[in-house]
């Protein structure tokens, strides 16, 4: 230590205790000095609360459906920051930017604070008693089959309660809808591997070929995959995995690939079959029926159809042949077409032929409590609900955790059809586009104020039940948890069964404690079990691996040829799912709006991405406002030119373009969901998100794009700032 430097003790001696207290207290925004607030000491504090010392409580992130474990730092009764829960095998203590912004969802100034009943164009604040009474009256006045419940992905005890409520009503109409879910992949996986969501082991693969799966950005469980990716890039033995990304518009994952291959939109399946053919020619053993199907996919033909050079196909084949095991993943970019299922099947077939099943594609565990297993959703469900509404078959509609008015294409006419439903109840955090259409809006607790259990669809090991618990007192007395609302509604229908539960907390505790044997707590008493469960934030369940069928078969597989040109609508529109805004539900969190898009560095807006060639053809430059018109509608946004996109494609990010939601989201950017054409995947009936064809025309003005990159636009001008070298020049095994 420096002899003359003052230490803390000396410092306090000099100042005296009074002075020190002033010096050590935070400056911040406190208005104690103005006399607006009073400082109250804790006369009787709880055991574990020490003023100024943060305490961590475990819970589950609700910003997306990945179900990462979080721990919230709580100080003086306020939750300040979220960190990852190291005990969760999904995220092992790590988080993403979207998850970090969870506190902004909680403290958001635009949250709804009391139940609102429609009175003309306005919402009138009413009491919960009245709101719940009204629901009771409405559901009692219609036939059970005319009641519909629309939710997003849902699991755990809330799902079980919801099912019980629907049973109590005598209606089974539960529609699960996720706007950007990998539903085509689930169906293709089910067919190929016998399970919808096999476990992917990126860390065990030596080569990953991803057909448009943005597993580092917005696909399924990005924080989990990012951790696997780190081990894939730098294995313990120093080996470095090779990532090849095949897609028409660069994703964050594509930006990290060793080779990014721009492919003509929709021809992913052709490339996969071409690779099988070339691998067979190179000596890989391929079943006879598969070989027969792929025989016509010669490298020359595939190169012509897909736009990927024969040289790159050759190198990719050599790489896949040499380095095993590999992993081939089909992502949303490959699936978003009318032949999306065929593409996904062809890609799965490549995986099987390479012998990756059982090595890098593993069987997931069965879920011990099927009633709490995640209900996953798709757009097909929304379509069926929409059809039923159009035919006046829905009299009472509940909506929870979704914003279909924002995410449904205009061509569905969902907003018009909603008007035919006489009574619409929307559970909401914000007045979003769907809540604006409601007759009754029920304000929800934030995810940091609420009790729930969550069973994520993708779990890294075994099975897992996540605990979501309040990290602080409710900010507003007028909000309720979704579990509490469902319980109150159930008490109306089945009072005898549920009257014993004062609130959802008591229901949850009793349900968990009564099952503690199956939840790994058979040796402990109830209180110890419950406290340990809350303390860990996750309950790890023993699950047995499901059976995977792995016989490659090309039966019935037909992959159509490349698209024909459409002179009226010459470009393919790729609606891009961004890691932070996803389907738009988080758009009112300002950290996410100000967090630059990784590839374009644009903030607070939408944009139209195009290749320099395309821009030259259209006669536009960066910042030009263009109109992007499909058969179903048009949007206007600024042009961003870059080379991470195929010249036949233009791309607009999803998530912005809100007409409601809140101060940070309203009026920012445009909503690309609206102009999607109604084209569906032929096998699953899913909306084909990438099928929309558009024309682009200059709309006159030019703006300066607000972005983080400098005027050099990503050129280092010869300075060595970010440096890159060839991987064969380095010995990673010698690194720390």
């Amino acid at each position: 230590m420096i002899e003359n430097s003052f230490n803390r003790r000396g410092f306090l001696k000099v100042l005296g205790w009074g002075g020190a207290t002033v010096a050590l207290s935070g400056c911040g925004n406190t208005s104690v000095e103005d006399g607006k607030e009073f400082v109250t000491s804790y006369v009787q504090t709880a055991d574990y609360i020490i003023p100024s010392i943060g305490t961590y409580f475990n819970s589950t992130c609700a910003q997306c459906d990945a179900g990462c474990g979080i721990m919230g730092r709580v100080r003086e009764g306020r939750v300040l920051k979220l960190e990852g829960n190291p005990k969760s095998s999904i995220n092992n203590g790590k988080m993403c930017g979207l998850g970090q912004a969870g506190v902004q969802a909680h403290y958001n100034p635009d949250r709804i604070r009391e139940p609102l009943l429609r009175n003309g164009d306005k919402g009138e604040a009413i009491t919960w008693e009245k709101a719940l009474g009204l629901i009771n009256e409405k559901v009692g006045g219609v036939k059970a089959e005319n009641i519909a419940f629309l939710t997003g992905g849902i699991s755990g005890h809330v799902k079980a309660l919801l099912k019980n409520y629907l049973d109590a009503l005598g209606s089974g109409h539960h529609y699960v809808y996720e706007a950007v879910a990998p539903s085509i992949m689930r169906a293709a996986n089910k067919k190929a591997y016998g399970t919808e969501m096999p476990r992917l082991r990126l860390d065990k693969a030596k080569v990953i070929v991803s057909f448009g799966a943005d597993f580092l950005g917005a696909w399924i469980s990005p924080v989990h995959f990012s951790q696997q990716y780190a081990r894939f890039r730098k294995a313990d033995n120093g080996e470095r995995g090779v990532l090849v990304q095949v897609e028409s518009k660069m994703t964050l994952t594509g930006a990290n690939a060793d080779r990014w291959l721009a492919i003509r939109p929709g021809t992913e399946g052709i490339l996969a079959l071409g690779l099988i053919n070339a691998l067979a020619a190179a000596g890989l053993s391929v079943p006879e029926d598969v070989a027969a199907v792929v025989r016509e996919y010669t490298t020359d033909r595939v190169s012509k159809d897909t736009g990927v050079s024969t040289e790159h196909i050759g190198r990719l084949v050599a790489l896949l042949k040499e380095r095993s095991p590999s992993l081939v993943i089909a992502g949303s970019a490959a699936e978003g077409y009318a032949h999306g299922s065929q593409n996904a099947t062809a890609i799965a077939l490549l995986n099987q032929v390479l012998g990756n099943v059982g090595k890098t594609v593993e069987a997931p565990s069965s879920i011990p409590f099927p009633q709490m297993a995640p209900a996953t959703g798709n757009r097909f469900a929304l379509q069926s609900l929409n059809d039923n509404m159009a035919q006046d078959k829905v009299k009472v509609l509940f909506s929870y955790g979704v914003n279909p008015v924002f995410t449904a294409p205009a061509s569905m006419k969902l907003k018009e059809n909603l008007k035919k439903v006489p009574f619409k109840v929307v559970f909401a955090h914000y007045m979003d586009e769907t809540a604006l259409e409601a007759d009754l809006v029920l304000p929800l607790n934030s995810a940091l104020e609420d009790w729930a259990t969550v069973m994520p669809e993708y779990v890294a090991e075994g099975a897992q039940l996540n605990i979501q618990q309040p990290l602080m007192e409710k900010l507003y007395p007028g909000t309720l948890g979704v579990g509490d609302i469902l319980l109150a509604l159930l008490k109306q229908r089945r009072p005898d069964e549920y009257k014993g539960y004062e609130d959802f907390y008591s229901y949850l505790r009793s349900a968990m404690v009564s099952n503690k044997g199956a939840l790994g707590g058979s040796a402990t008493d109830d209180d110890t079990f419950w406290d340990a469960t809350l303390s860990h934030g996750v309950v790890k369940l023993a699950g047995t691996p499901v059976n995977m069928s792995g016989n490659p078969s090309a039966k019935g597989l037909v992959v159509p040829g490349p698209f024909t040109e459409d002179s009226a609508y010459p470009f393919h529109l790729i609606p891009a799912v961004s890691a932070s805004l996803r389907d738009g539900r988080n758009a009112n969190e300002p950290w996410l709006q100000e967090s630059p898009d990784p590839l374009t560095t644009i903030v607070w807006d939408s944009w139209v991405e195009m290749h320099p060639k395309t821009a030259a053809k259209l006669g536009v430059v960066e910042g030009d406002i263009v109109e992007v018109a499909s058969k179903s509608g048009a949007i206007k946004a600024q042009v961003y030119v870059f080379t991470g996109i195929h010249p036949d494609v233009i791309s607009v990010p999803l998530g912005n373009g809100h007409e409601a939601l809140g101060r940070y989201a309203k009026g920012v950017g445009v909503n690309a969901f609206k102009i999607l054409d109604s084209v569906f995947d032929k096998e699953t009936g899913e909306l084909a998100m990438h099928e929309t064809r558009v024309k682009v025309s200059k709309a006159g003005q030019r703006v300066v794009i607000v972005k983080d990159e400098g005027p050099a636009g990503g050129n280092q001008m010869g300075r060595k700032i970010a440096v890159r070298m060839s991987s064969n020049k380095v010995n990673l095994s010698e690194e720390v």
């Binding site: 730098k234 990290n256 080779r259 190198r315 100000e594 101060r663 700032i721």
Partner: protein
């Protein structure tokens, strides 16, 4: 502490580096960032907003260059004239490099930015008069100025968003410069706890917010003086020496190269952040 003492023992208070004869005593905080692991996801940046009370300035002020991301992801392309960015992007988390010989420190007219005994480049908010000379002199553009009084600006921290503010970190007012502190509030707590236990801070005992959140673990942070610290081992293995403006290894021709480098080292700023070069496979 008298002024005489201060003047007589100036070199103890004014930490001047590089200094072979006066190495760091207990702590020298340093970082290393693996660019081959960094995916450019921006989690570090958002975590920094959460930890350090950074204001969200909005579109208009962002356009004026008033954004406050203490750690930002710089994105570069290296197409070399090819039609596509077919080797992806180069992402680089840029933050205050905590230079040992910081160009910002020498130009501050009021000594608001200076070097601590732990080797941090510190910013004393209540000394800062807003000359912004430091900003002009920083080669890394890692300093951010409060052009507005964000606590009282509409929609920056509207009620109840202000309840999220970290009480361990000052909320800066108009007219002061700010920048990455290596989460000094966390370091202070860790040092204090360690001192109470009669030891030094152990490796891994304290993490910066960006390091803690990073999904791929690309960021290492620790005490370069501690021989057990991962960050020190990394620097050693990469043969990057803190007090050199040219690394000996760069002159050698070797078959296997080392990835460690510091940005704009030739400016003799002696940064405390080492980067590991991004890699790309040549077989594809």
């Amino acid at each position: 502490m008298s002024i005489t003492n201060l003047l007589e023992n100036w070199s103890d208070f004014r930490q001047q580096h590089p200094s072979d004869d006066r190495p760091h005593r207990e702590y020298k905080w340093a970082m290393s960032i693996d660019l081959d692991s960094c995916t450019g996801c921006n989690a570090c940046s958002v975590a920094c907003y959460a930890e350090n009370n950074l204001p969200v300035v909005g579109k208009e002020k962002f356009a004026h260059g008033h954004s406050h991301h203490w750690i930002r992801i710089e994105r570069y392309w290296d197409n070399d004239g090819r039609e596509f960015a077919d080797q992806g992007a180069q992402f680089l988390p840029m933050l205050c490099q905590h230079c040992e010989s910081a160009p910002c420190e020498t130009v501050c007219p009021v000594g608001a930015t200076n070097h601590t005994a732990d080797g941090l480049n510190s910013q004393v908010y209540n000394r800062c008069v807003g000359s912004r000379y430091c900003n002009a002199n920083c080669p890394y553009k890692a300093r951010y100025f409060n052009w507005y009084d964000y606590p009282t600006t509409d929609n920056v921290w509207p009620e109840p968003m202000n309840q999220q503010l970290n009480p361990d970190v000052t909320v800066r007012g108009k007219g002061v410069m700010e920048k990455c502190t290596f989460c000094v509030q966390r370091l202070t707590v860790a040092k204090s706890n360690a001192r109470s236990a009669g030891r030094s801070v152990l490796d891994g005992e304290v993490q910066t917010a960006c390091q803690q959140v990073c999904p791929t673990g690309a960021i290492s942070f620790g005490n370069l003086v501690d021989p057990l610290a991962k960050v020190g081992k990394q620097w050693m293995k990469q043969q990057v020496e803190l007090n050199k403006d040219k690394q000996a290894k760069d002159a050698e021709e070797k078959a296997a190269k080392l990835r460690g480098y510091r940005i704009l080292e030739g400016l003799r700023t002696y940064p405390s952040v080492m980067y590991l070069e991004q890699l790309r496979e040549s077989a594809i």
